[in-house]
């Protein structure tokens, strides 16, 4: 079975998204953010309030160092979002001055804007989050659901949750299923061969036939046999039982 890797080109057009970190303190978090971006097909990273990156960021950015190398640096969040059309900021705290959306509402907002809209997703400092002044740079503020007030999500975890949510939105129809079960007739033919074998071996007899047949139909029904399963089972019952 081929695993369902999903190429970057997709319905949501992830290339128009920027992930913007404001004053991140922990370089390892920046690397983990880059890795989460790579996992989910986002590629543009902006850093506000930082001038450069340290080796610790590259250490955690496994196979994602290229995203760090082409990251952009800005003195302020205001400069980092200047060319974007739509800015969304995440918060874990109650905000008196701002209406806070759920993450699902935030995703619906994003989907409601035209495909050429350049979008920034903003995340604050690990300890302090985003200030009210910084939130003013956002069109919408949203909340990532969590069980209790403490702890908040780790910075890279918060980025992953929204990116994974967007990634799944953009690709949910594209993820292929594994091979379908064989036609029901073929499933039953296989089952009948097995029943015949069991009969022949004396496992099944007048008093338990109905019961055993029901059990086997139930068991193999739930398996929803694939062609590989069918071959394997027939081999087991043809050779395995005969060898006894």
């Amino acid at each position: 079975m081929k695993l369902p890797y999903v190429p970057s080109s997709d319905l949501l057009n992830r290339s128009r998204f920027c992930i913007i970190l404001v004053n991140p303190e922990n370089q390892e978090n920046i690397g983990l953010v880059a890795r989460a971006m790579k996992n989910t097909g986002f590629s543009s990273l902006r850093l506000a309030g930082l001038k450069g990156l340290q080796p610790e960021a590259f250490r955690t950015a496994v196979h994602s160092e290229d995203l760090l190398r082409k990251a952009s640096f800005f003195s302020t969040l205001s400069q980092a979002v200047a060319d974007l059309n739509l800015v969304l900021a995440s918060t874990v705290r109650q905000r008196k001055a701002f209406k806070v959306l759920t993450i699902d509402e935030a995703v619906e907002k994003i989907k409601a804007f035209p495909a050429e809209t350049k979008i920034g997703l903003v995340f604050g400092n690990e300890r302090t989050g985003l200030s009210d002044l910084e939130l003013r740079q956002a069109n919408f503020v949203y909340f990532i659901p969590q069980v209790s007030r403490q702890p908040s999500y780790n910075l890279a975890a918060a980025v992953l949750v929204i990116l994974y949510t967007l990634f799944r939105q953009s690709t949910s129809e594209l993820i292929p299923q594994s091979a379908p079960p064989i036609p029901r007739k073929k499933q039953e033919d296989c089952l009948k061969i097995i029943l015949k074998k069991l009969e022949k071996k004396g496992f099944m007899h007048e008093t338990n036939r109905e019961h055993v047949t029901n059990l086997l139909y139930d068991l193999f029904g739930r398996l929803a046999l694939s062609e590989r399963d069918r071959r394997f089972l027939l081999a087991v019952f043809n050779k395995g039982l005969d060898r006894e």
Copy 2:
């Protein structure tokens, strides 16, 4: 607005889940796993192949140290899952011997079993993942979607993705929306007061009335005014405009 923190007791009954890490190498990842568990309401952590934890694990387990303190240690995965009813393992690699489910199929499996089913979610070593021998301990193997083969998700990120998915499944109906917009009649009354003000200030006149009215209806319609919005706008137009 109250943020939608969601208590631990829920439809999926998260207390029956164990998160099981097999031979994790990086202690900081273990701490991040504990934090992701705390964020999403899971509390039982098992470690296979480890005898104890180092300070680095506690450093990243912000406000989640209690989960580390009550973690259980096992020599082998087989021992770690012995008392569980249903075991699911995550993989990022193609597996010849095992049918691999999508993450959504894995969640459906979990939901299909009765509420008292004790469930283990197993994650392999950061570099090697789970061996075929280890996968044999699982009832089901599932795949967390990603864009390309490399990089895989960071260990704590993989745990977060499945836990967040389960958390959202269990609570999607429970997350309250913020206050609904005020009744449409009240929205329009507010709008009419503003139109009257603009008329009085000479901003609106015979030639632009229709156009400006349309623009205002569109703008305030999209805002879907809350009671707070309404009060704020009326204050702005009553006092702000009069002060000119």
